[in-house]
Symmetry: C2
Subunit: 438 residues, 2 copies
Amino acid sequence: MNPIKVGLLGIGTVGGGTFRVLQRNQEEIARRAGRAITIAMVADRDIAKVRAIAGDTVRVTANAFEVVDDPEIEIVVELIGGTSIARELVLKAIENGKQVVTANKALLATHGNEIFAAAQRKGVTVAFEAAVAGGVPIIKALREGLSGNRIEWIAGIINGTSNFILSEMREKGSSFEAVLTQAQQLGYAEADPTFDIQGIDAAHKLTILAAIGFGIPMQFAACYTEGIAELTSQDIRYAEELGYRIKLLGVAKRMPQGFELRVHPTLIPAKRLIANVEGVMNAILVKGDAVGQTMYYGPGAGAEPTASAIVADLVDVTRMHTVDPRHRVPHLAFQPDRLSALPILPMEAVETSYYLRMRVDDRAGVLADITGTLADLAISIDAMVQKEPGEGEKQVDIVMLTHLTREKSINAAIARIEALPFVSGKVTRIRLEELGQG
Amino acid sequence: MNPIKVGLLGIGTVGGGTFRVLQRNQEEIARRAGRAITIAMVADRDIAKVRAIAGDTVRVTANAFEVVDDPEIEIVVELIGGTSIARELVLKAIENGKQVVTANKALLATHGNEIFAAAQRKGVTVAFEAAVAGGVPIIKALREGLSGNRIEWIAGIINGTSNFILSEMREKGSSFEAVLTQAQQLGYAEADPTFDIQGIDAAHKLTILAAIGFGIPMQFAACYTEGIAELTSQDIRYAEELGYRIKLLGVAKRMPQGFELRVHPTLIPAKRLIANVEGVMNAILVKGDAVGQTMYYGPGAGAEPTASAIVADLVDVTRMHTVDPRHRVPHLAFQPDRLSALPILPMEAVETSYYLRMRVDDRAGVLADITGTLADLAISIDAMVQKEPGEGEKQVDIVMLTHLTREKSINAAIARIEALPFVSGKVTRIRLEELGQG
């Protein structure tokens, strides 16, 4: 059988990796897919770069629309990024009856519903293993490997940049700013790190995981998103003293009235496996009603790890593209007419435990007033530590962990505590997830 | 569309779990598969038990052959275990054109080549996600999720019973025998624990993982297998002092001349995530040339975790059973005419690091003689600890870690050391894997 012909949109880091992996492992891949997979055409503004990577073996254009319109191309790999031109190109490719593979989480989280509906109508596949956790085949695991389960929750370290920063802050006691600069020098963080450190990239990925885990549409706008820029190494140290690590966690949880969808720094018991995922690695913990907890771990970014996921999608698509679409795995795991209409819950309705840190005057009665304030709101305390005051200091840190509390109550409690005359500044609030069995 | 009809062979722990999960999650599963999946017939010697679990909703027989011969049944789930009647039943089901789902690792590791060839000829699928690591979708991850990679090695904790025993021995300092008795009382070990503690069960699973990872036939007979019955809590403690944990590890590795395939107790750096997998949990670390290291973690046994994998297979088979077989994922990941013929290497050719413990007279010159013996065989030492003698003892333990050494050389060294006049008894030898990046 002839090789299946792929058109590549964008040959940056990931595109270059994809080209390299397809070439290096071509025999291995053909032994699996039963057919060779060849990049026949590449679109990139930098024609010289394409030639440097791909030599004369491919057709090259600066105009990506030429690839999606080319009759020879059967699969389009979109690696341009962003949500505007990428959306146009993907929709055009679908309209032209091409299969699509993309690593673009922002595109799918924000325009996925439109894109999958178009693909469904046209009978083509839009594959996106590379959009979440790089080389870790979490999309396949969640969508196919756990298909017997009612998924109860998903909790993931799905942004390597943030995890690297938090790992470094903990290990070296450095400040957020210092580690961010270091991460930028190492190429782990972009010049504009907003998407990573504000939790937006993680929210894109969590939106996708929740959609395929629960069978709900993409609802990025409803995802609560809080980044790591406000975290201090002091909080990381206090958390550690209490037996916890702080991770930027994406949490999607099934509740009776709807689904929680939230990205925020989170205390996790240090003894949990996922709390020990360090550096730029990703890990996703999935709780299913039948299987219990399973975890998927690996590199969440990088040229070849991401290429690994793209090529896996190419192999799947190569096997299945001529098959009647009803035999294929549905894009969002569930048949498109059988998605759940239950809403994403507002953050105020979320119930979790909390880490609270506050700075108070070092005198009698203070603790009683604070615990009284919490008791008034029926918030119960699991652990509390009053730090010793530094030499000559008249104020001390109080750190406490609460039992399960509704976000609305903790917000009210924080407002009241901050209004107390002996409390200085803001109360630091970090959510806590036990991630235990049961 | 009518529900697809499944026949269950054996309704013990896993069969009962499968029945329960299919019933409880029937709506969720149909939303995914696009079609309901129903157990229509059950074969079990204990008819009363079947009725207690399944009520009057299914047809029941004590003769499993009636199920595989029944024209109404489209998928046969084999949960009888063993390699004799199970083999006959599976081959008969295939001959009758049924799809097959099995959790039977012993059967596949020993008769898989025959079974898959028969299935291939007949155009049916034999699915086996539940055969390795229970609910962890490692078969799917390795066979499909990493299909762009040249798999370099696989290292797995794939026997929960052994891992539970080793975890308890380490945490409590108990002896192997004491913990085994406890595991039997808890139901984590069988009355006859041979398959688990001798590494045979792990070798069955490793044989399967190697086949789909490397594209080689099942070669269980060539798998080196060493269990945990000889391990002492002393070795576990010494290993810990050196920064290592001891796990029963299945290791499959690609080498230029062939493949390593071995199950044995293994020292792993305590800082590795997989070294911290405790109790009955399973974890498999896979190194691919593109993706690097990924890890898959979860419950490796139990009624519902195993059922989770069986149902995932049922969903896959339900989607694909009417599709031309060339569109399906090949049983062993690679097209059956494109398997590798490279051999499994003999254990003497394996190169790894070693932990050696020996008991020697506490006097000058002993260490020099031992290190000299090792140097003669070009074995280089990475770390060495001489323990203090106990009160009134005239002998001491020496513990050493070697650099990479060929098994053949270490065997020769051990024979020479044991012949030294000041060495008492046997030298304890445990292999060591760094499992690092690169």
